[in-house]
C-alpha cells in the first residue's frame, strides 16, 4: 500500500477527509445564503431568476458545484464507514447510560447528518433537478423602462422548450426573459408541511455545525489558545445561528406571504 493510501486509510486520514469536506460545505453555505437573500427582494423574482441562470451557466461555478456534490457524498459515505467502525469498537454495549458531560450535538452527528442528507436529496430534486432537467419550471419576462427604471413582470412562453435566457432592447425597454425558478420556490414554500420540514432541517444544520465546525479544526490539529476562541465564535454565531436562521426565514416569509 502506498504511503498516501495508507495515510488516508488510517483513522486520522478518514477524519481528515471528513473535516476538509465538512469545512468546504460550510463555506458553500455562506455563498448559498448570500445569493438566496435575493429572494427577499420584492422584484417578482427578477434578481433571483437572473442569479439562478448565472449559477447554472457559468463554467467555473459548475465545476465547483460538482465538487460540492462529490463532497456531500464523500462526507456521508465516510461518516457511515467511520460509524460502522466505531460500533465494531464496542461490540458489547453498556447497560447504564453514559453520563459523561458531552454535548447532545456531538453525540448525535449521525442523526443530524442523516436528516440533512434527506433534506439535500429533497431540496435538490425539487429545485436543482427540476431547473436543469425537467420542463416543470415556467418562464418570466421582465420589462424595465430604462428611463424610469420601473420593471413589470409577466409570464412568458418560449417557442422552443430548450430556451434558457435572452436579453433584448425594445425602444426604451430592456427585456429579460428567463426561467422562473422563483415561482417554483414560492409555490413550494406555500406548502406548510414543506415549510416545517425546511425549518426542522435548518435546526439540524445549526446543531450539526455547532459541533462540526470546531470539531473539524480539532481534527486538523488547528487548536491554539489564541485562535480556538475565534473558531468557536464563528462556529456558534455564524454557522449555528445566523446561517440557519437566514435560511429558515425564507420558507417562513414566503409561507406568510402566500396566506395573503
Amino acid at each position: 500500500m502506498s504511503e498516501f493510501k495508507q495515510t488516508f486509510n488510517s483513522s486520522l486520514g478518514k477524519k481528515l477527509i471528513m473535516a476538509l469536506t465538512g469545512l468546504f460545505l460550510c463555506t458553500f453555505l455562506i455563498v448559498h445564503l448570500g445569493g438566496n437573500l435575493l429572494l427577499f427582494r420584492n422584484d417578482d423574482g427578477y434578481g433571483f431568476n437572473v442569479y439562478a441562470n448565472f449559477l447554472t451557466h457559468f463554467p467555473p461555478i459548475e465545476v465547483i458545484a460538482y465538487l460540492l456534490y462529490l463532497s456531500i457524498l464523500v462526507h456521508a459515505i465516510y461518516a457511515l464507514v467511520l460509524t460502522i467502525k466505531n460500533r465494531k469498537a464496542r461490540p458489547v454495549a453498556y447497560a447504564t447510560v453514559n453520563k459523561a458531560p458531552a454535548t447532545w450535538s456531538s453525540k448525535n452527528m449521525g442523526l443530524l447528518g442523516s436528516i440533512l442528507f434527506l433534506f439535500i436529496v429533497i431540496h435538490m430534486s425539487d429545485f436543482w433537478f427540476n431547473y436543469k432537467y425537467s420542463d416543470k419550471i415556467g418562464y418570466k419576462e421582465y420589462r424595465t423602462n430604462v428611463k424610469t427604471d420601473e420593471t413589470t413582470a409577466v409570464d412568458y412562453v418560449p417557442e422552443s422548450p430548450k430556451f434558457e435566457k435572452s436579453v433584448t432592447t425594445e425602444g426604451d425597454y430592456e427585456v429579460v426573459r428567463v426561467k422562473d425558478l422563483h415561482a417554483r420556490v414560492a409555490s413550494s414554500f406555500s406548502n406548510l408541511i414543506y415549510v416545517i420540514f425546511y425549518v426542522i432541517a435548518m435546526g439540524a444544520v445549526s446543531f450539526h455545525l455547532v459541533h462540526g465546525f470546531q470539531s473539524a479544526f480539532r481534527t486538523l490539529g488547528w487548536v491554539h489558545r489564541k485562535y480556538t476562541p475565534i473558531v468557536y465564535f464563528i462556529g456558534t454565531w455564524l454557522f449555528a445561528v445566523i446561517i440557519p436562521l437566514g435560511f429558515a426565514a425564507m420558507p417562513i416569509v414566503y409561507y406568510i406571504q402566500s396566506l395573503k
Partner: protein
C-alpha cells in the same frame, strides 16, 4: 442506620472469560462504612462470597493510591465512578447514599477484551507504547539536570500530558471506544520536549498505526474522554497529535518503519 453504615445493592457484571457471554448478578453489600474506598467495599463483598463458597468478583487493582492506572470499573455510567479526577481506588462510599443500587461494568471495548468479570486486558495500550512511546538515550556519563533549556510553559504542558496513567477511562467513556486521548498524551509528552525530537515524526506514525490495528474507534471530539480522565488529560493533546501526524505523513521524510527498526 445508627452507626452511619450503608446497605447497598450491587449489580455486577460476571463473565467467566473472554469466550463466554457475561451477565449481571445482584449482590447485597451490607454494613458498608462510608469511609471505605470503592475497592475496599468490593473486598468486603468478596470476603462474604468466599465464606459462602462462591467465586469472588474479579477486578483489577494495584497501588490503591491513584497512580498506577490498574483499577478500572464503569460505575453507574461513569468510568471510575461519579467523582471527577479520581480513580476508583480513590472513590469513597460516602459518594453514594444508603440503599442505592450501583451498577458495575467492565470497560467495554473490542480492544479491551474481558479477562474475567470486571477485569479487562489492556495490553493493547502496552503495544501502542511499545510501537513508539519512548526515547532512545545514549548511555555514558550522567548528564546534569536542566542541561537543555526548556521553556516553562512547554515543560508544564509536557508534564501534564505525562501524568496519564494509562487506565483506559478515556476509551471506556468514549461513545466510539476511541483511544485518542491516551495515544495523544503519550505522543505529546515526548513531542514537546527536546529529548523527543529525533523520533518525533516516526513515533506519531507508528503509534497511530498500532492504535488502528488494535481496533479502537475513531475520535469525534465529543470530549467525554477529557471529562472522565482521572488525571484531567486535555483534548488539546488530540489536536497536537493530529497536527504532528498530518505533518509527518504529508511533509516529512520519516516513515513508520524507521521507528519499528529502532534506529
Amino acid at each position: 442506620m445508627s452507626n452511619g453504615n450503608m446497605n447497598l445493592t450491587l449489580k455486577v457484571w460476571r463473565q467467566k472469560n473472554a469466550e463466554t457471554k457475561g451477565a449481571f448478578a445482584t449482590y447485597k453489600a451490607e454494613g458498608i462504612s462510608p469511609d471505605m474506598s470503592f475497592l475496599e467495599m468490593l473486598d468486603v463483598v468478596n470476603e462474604g462470597l468466599i465464606l459462602k463458597g462462591d467465586e469472588p468478583i474479579n477486578f483489577d487493582h494495584d497501588c490503591r493510591e491513584g497512580i498506577c492506572g490498574m483499577c478500572s470499573l464503569y460505575i453507574n455510567g461513569h468510568p471510575h465512578g461519579p467523582k471527577n479526577a479520581i480513580t476508583t481506588c480513590q472513590l469513597h462510599m460516602r459518594s453514594f447514599h444508603d440503599g442505592e443500587t450501583i451498577v458495575i461494568e467492565p470497560w467495554r471495548a473490542a480492544a479491551f477484551p474481558v479477562i474475567k468479570d470486571l477485569a479487562v486486558d489492556r495490553s493493547s495500550f502496552d503495544r501502542i507504547q511499545q510501537a513508539g512511546g519512548f526515547v532512545s538515550v545514549n548511555t555514558g556519563v550522567t548528564v546534569d539536570a536542566n542541561e537543555i533549556p526548556i521553556p516553562k510553559v512547554i515543560a508544564d504542558e509536557a508534564f501534564n500530558s505525562a501524568t496519564c496513567i494509562g487506565c483506559g477511562a478515556c476509551v471506556a467513556a468514549c461513545k466510539n471506544a476511541s483511544a485518542m486521548l491516551f495515544v495523544s498524551a503519550k505522543v505529546s509528552q515526548l513531542a514537546m520536549l527536546p529529548q523527543g525530537q529525533p523520533e518525533r515524526w516516526s513515533r506519531v506514525q507508528a503509534m497511530v498505526a498500532q492504535m488502528d490495528e488494535e481496533g479502537f474507534g475513531n475520535c469525534t471530539n465529543t470530549g467525554a474522554c477529557e471529562a472522565e480522565c482521572p488525571k484531567e488529560i486535555k483534548m488539546t493533546n488530540i489536536s497536537r497529535m493530529n497536527n504532528d501526524y498530518f505533518s509527518a505523513k504529508l511533509f516529512r521524510e520519516e516513515s513508520t518503519h524507521e521507528h519499528a527498526a529502532g534506529e
